[in-house]
């Protein structure tokens, strides 16, 4: 197959899997944050802090794959 076509296909697959994993991770983090703050409302400030930190770290993984997708398209 044409390498250009394979590069476009590869970038689509890369961001597809990354979005899947990222969605699972973010859903997990926020779900656990909601559940734990519903069980113990006094823990809400701590949980909120950790929730934002966890969200940014999971989002970073998805965006690494996005960078790879852009590199594949640009080449």
């Amino acid at each position: 197959m044409d390498p250009k076509a394979l590069a476009w296909l590869g970038s689509g697959v890369a961001i597809g899997f990354a979005a899947l994993g990222g969605a699972i991770g973010i859903g997990n983090i926020f779900g656990r944050a909601i559940e734990s703050s519903a069980r113990q409302p006094e823990a809400l400030p701590l949980v909120q802090r950790l929730m934002f930190i966890g969200f940014a770290l999971v989002e970073a993984q998805v965006l690494y794959a996005l960078v790879i997708a852009f590199i594949l398209i640009a080449k």
Partner: protein, 242 residues
């Protein structure tokens, strides 16, 4: 020499961000120092943000070393915050300086080098090596793990730089795609020949507005995360091996 030190719009935005950080902090500090009882809204805003950085980031991770390193971490936080937010304002010339991997790479490498130099200075070369390269594991696990720990050490500034760069870039690219895509983009729908199609251009532009709000939120979060991880990596270099 001229082609290396060209003053691009990115450089001008960096100057604007640095100047804005300095002016905001200077004016805020002067207003807070002026009266001890009642400050204005702007001074209270600056005070609240500085208190947030001090309590939430520096005291949390650095503990007893906090007063020394507060300046660096707060400077990183406010500079990255102003850089991120400047690019999100809908003014034609403004771009995010942190949307370029050279800028975020320079910031991440600066933090990394500072952390390593301080680590070697404070822990001594042997203590630094033991802290960074050796796992709390038996010897037959530690020796093969040394290259892996070295890779982890190198991954820290890389991830810091790419996280900030990719977040800023992704926001711009998504809004750009919503405006200019071929069949669903706002501008394509707006300039379509069929007049009945033209009102449908409201939808992509409305989505762009919502995304702009999300991007402001992401700008704050990413500045916070950058400063937090910088403080975390600094604290790893300052503590003794336990």
């Amino acid at each position: 020499m001229a082609e290396v030190f060209k003053v691009t719009d990115l450089v001008v935005m960096l100057w604007v961000a640095a100047g804005l950080t300095f002016v905001v902090m200077f004016v805020g500090a002067r207003l807070i120092a002026a009266s001890s009882e009642v400050n204005g809204r702007f001074a209270n805003l600056v005070d609240a943000m500085i208190d947030f950085v001090r309590g939430g980031i520096v005291e949390e991770f650095l503990g007893e070393n906090a007063p020394q390193w507060f300046g660096l971490v707060a400077g990183i936080f406010f500079f990255v915050l102003f850089c991120n937010v400047l690019g999100k304002l809908p003014i034609p010339f403004f771009i995010s300086p942190t949307g370029n991997w050279n800028v975020t790479g320079a910031l991440a490498i600066t933090v990394f080098v500072i952390a390593q130099v301080v680590g070697v200075y404070k822990l001594g070369p042997i203590g630094y090596f033991k802290k960074k390269f050796l796992l709390p594991a038996p010897l037959w696990v530690q020796i093969p793990a040394i290259p892996i720990m070295f890779l982890i050490l190198l991954a820290e500034p890389f991830s810091l730089a790419v996280r900030l760069f990719a977040n800023m870039l992704a926001g711009h690219m998504v809004m750009f795609t919503f405006a200019t895509a071929q069949m669903v983009g706002g501008l394509w729908l707006l300039h379509h020949q069929n007049v009945l199609v033209k009102p449908a251009a409201v939808v992509p532009f409305a989505v762009s507005v919502v995304l702009l709000g999300l991007e402001f939120f992401i700008a704050f979060i990413q500045a916070f995360i950058f400063a937090l991880l910088s403080a975390l990596y600094l604290s790893e270099s300052l503590e003794e091996h336990h």
